[in-house]
């Protein structure tokens, strides 16, 4: 149980700066997921918390103690690595118990604690095996056991599920969640998989290019993305973005070729905007419906429970997700309709959110 305070943390490799001043606060017992594309600095940030990377600037404090100069073993963190990083020459029991052996815990107590951890993770029958003789999921569990046995203040996960197959990933995801509920240790989980991030996180940190784009609950991040990057990165298929200009009676889109009539445009007339609309917020209607945007169907992707319909809007790609049983033929005309409440506006220059309907949208309850 420990809080983590990150203040102005920077990371440089030689002349390249990869993390540009990050400020974050993780509460005690919280499950935080850091989400971002590869190369966004999320793993570097995690490794700085762990003590595996030097901190080039700023401070990281665990439970109020600045840990910048502490060795990993003195920070009270345990880490689960992407490739498990099990010691290949040690048995499962030795792998799990190694940190206790290093710490000089007597062998009787060690055995007892290894047994306890193995029971929790259902590894008891595998304790004598070598990592080579284990499946991916079992290796993953051993790696978690190795982290658990030290009863750390902070759990760090570095994309631990990315080497597993899809089914196992879902299973391990719920196991990690259960484990967290039981141990209640502060956990920081790094991933580039947004489903993993949404399902696991108490709080989500979205990073891009070494900066934090948004911090919030998964629902907040989904419903009120703070920037164009977050809007297109979170949610699948990605949010549709159309460039446009605010007019008196609505929006002119796609260089003026389309017009969207809206009564409540809250931005000054003439403002250039990037309008975002989630595919799942768009309804398909008959092409000649009043107020609908006309488009041509390009491709239909069947998902079983629903389908993604890619349409062409004067050359601009646009996707619609629907669970209705409609199967339009490619090439046929359709109408797109969506309500102003579902629209997001971003500055075309900075990408930051322009809050048009701020007053009318209630803050999501926490």
């Amino acid at each position: 149980m420990a809080s983590i305070t990150i203040r102005g943390v920077k990371k440089n490799y030689a002349k390249t700066q990869v993390v540009h001043g990050v400020d974050l606060d993780f509460a005690s017992g919280e499950f935080v997921v850091i989400l971002g594309p590869s190369g966004c600095g999320k793993s570097t940030l995690l490794r700085m918390i762990a003590g595996l990377e030097d901190i080039s600037g700023g401070t990281i404090a665990i439970d109020g103690t600045v840990v910048n100069r502490l060795e990993p073993r003195e920070r009270g963190c345990a880490m689960v690595f992407q490739n498990y990083a099990l010691y290949p020459h040690m048995s499962v029991a030795q792998n799990i118990g190694y940190s206790l052996k290093v710490a000089g815990v007597p062998s009787a107590e060690r055995t007892q604690r290894i047994q306890a951890v193995a029971r929790t993770l259902e590894l008891e029958h595998l304790l004598d095996r070598k990592p080579m003789a284990l499946s991916g999921g079992q290796r993953q569990r051993v790696a978690m056991g190795r982290a658990m046995i030290r009863e750390p203040k902070v759990f760090l996960f570095d994309e631990p599920l990315s080497n597993l197959d899809a089914k196992l990933r879902v299973q391990m995801r719920s196991e990690i969640r259960k484990l967290h509920r039981r141990l209640n240790a502060t956990s920081v989980f790094v991933t580039h998989d947004q489903v993993e991030a949404m399902t696991l996180a108490d709080r989500l940190v979205v990073m891009n290019g070494g900066r934090v784009e948004q911090v919030g609950t998964p629902a907040e991040v989904y419903s009120r993305p703070a920037s164009r990057f977050v809007a297109t990165f979170v949610g699948a298929p990605a949010m549709n973005i159309l460039e446009g200009t605010v007019e008196l009676d609505g929006l002119s889109l796609l260089g003026g070729s389309r017009h969207l009539t809206m009564t409540r445009a809250g931005l000054p007339v003439g403002t250039k905007v990037a309008m975002g609309i989630r595919p799942e917020a768009v309804r398909l209607v008959a092409p000649n419906t009043a107020g609908a945007l006309k488009a041509t169907v390009d491709l239909v992707e069947e998902l079983g429970a629903g389908r993604v319909i890619y349409v062409d809007l004067d050359g601009a790609p646009f996707s619609v997700m629907t669970s209705e049983a409609i199967h339009p033929e490619p090439g046929s005309p359709v109408g797109l309709k969506f309500s102003p409440e579902d629209m997001h506006f971003f500055s075309p220059e900075t990408g930051s959110r322009l809050d048009v309907f701020k007053a009318s949208v209630p803050e999501p309850a926490l």
């Binding site: 762990a50 490739n83 010691y87 190694y98 290093v102 710490a103 190795r146 030290r150």
Partner: protein, 304 residues
């Protein structure tokens, strides 16, 4: 490439057989010569059918050259060199691969350059150092005037002396430094995933702990391969033992074989010489047979 045609099979076997004969024929001739008596071995051409005096010749060779203690000496020296090389090269490679200190690469290349300076090239200075290990320090003391100072102050003349001629350390230590071993270990350490190092750090293991608990067990195969090769190399050393052992008590088996080789004008006892050769060849052969599985594993890529 795997081809399966009868002709190619025959052809490859033929090549293999020729190679085999080239390798084995000298040993067969040695063994046959060792089984003849004095008259038969000096027949021209020598009969290639084995004679009947094999065990007699072996015994004569053993007694004449005093091979018992010599073999023991060889074992001690070769074992010492092999162990020393493994330890030194593992530690050196560990410091070069896992620590970032100034001049790291410079030191690595300096070690590498010693490949160009085998013992034979630097044998005179090495002999001088082994004759008195402290002579370089004496020289330094003399140059900086320290010996002069000590003599003036205390009246004692400084004369450092520690000779290693005719001793095991003298035989072993100059052979222990190894660029090849360091390089082999460096390449192995570079293949150990960084995450393993990081996991050990997270588990609280310090560098030495990591070295002993993780790296050494992982490099067992390398150790066996390097140890075996170096054991053979040290066993077959000739010039250095010959140079520094003036006393029979520290002579090695390979150098002592010369006692069995007939002098000009002496009795041409080649059968005894060959028998002795066989005896001296046997221990390295056994080591190779026992260790070959490890050698192959240690020298090819890492196991999965």
């Amino acid at each position: 490439m795997v081809e399966r045609t009868p002709f190619l099979n025959l052809f490859t076997h033929l090549i293999l057989f020729v190679g085999f004969v080239f390798c084995v024929a000298p040993f067969v001739v040695v063994a046959i010569a060792a089984s003849h008596n004095l008259r038969d071995v000096n027949d021209v051409p020598m009969s290639l059918l084995p004679g009947s005096d094999f065990w007699v010749n072996i015994k004569t060779a053993w007694v004449t050259a005093g091979l018992g203690p010599k073999l023991l000496n060889s074992f001690i020296v070769a074992g010492g060199v092999a162990a020393g090389k493994v330890i030194i090269s593992a530690l050196t490679a560990f410091s070069i691969v896992y620590f970032r200190f100034p001049g790291r690469m410079f030191i690595f290349w300096l070690i590498f350059v010693t490949l160009m300076l085998p013992l034979e090239v630097r044998i005179v200075p090495t002999y001088a150092v082994v004759a008195n290990v402290l002579s370089p320090y004496q020289a330094i003391f003399d140059v900086i005037g320290l010996s002069w100072l000590i003599e003036k102050v205390s009246g004692v003349q400084v004369s450092l002396s520690l000779g290693l001629l005719n001793s095991y350390p003298g035989l072993i230590l100059p052979l222990v430094a190894t660029a090849t071993g360091t390089f082999l270990y460096r390449q192995f350490f570079l293949t150990v995933p960084d995450e393993l190092t990081e996991a050990a750090r997270m588990d609280g293991a310090g560098p030495l702990r990591f070295f002993i608990d993780v790296l050494l067990p992982l490099s067992r195969n390398n150790m066996a391969a390097l140890g075996t090769i170096m054991f053979l190399w040290a066993w077959n050393q000739y010039l250095w033992p010959l140079l520094i052992t003036t006393d029979q008590s520290h002579a090695m088996a390979v150098t002592e074989l010369k006692q069995l080789i007939p002098n000009v004008g002496g009795t041409p006892e080649w059968h005894i010489a060959m028998a002795g050769t066989l005896i001296v060849m046997l221990p390295p052969l056994l080591v190779v047979v026992l260790m070959q599985r490890w050698i192959v594993r240690g020298l090819i890529a890492t196991e999965k």
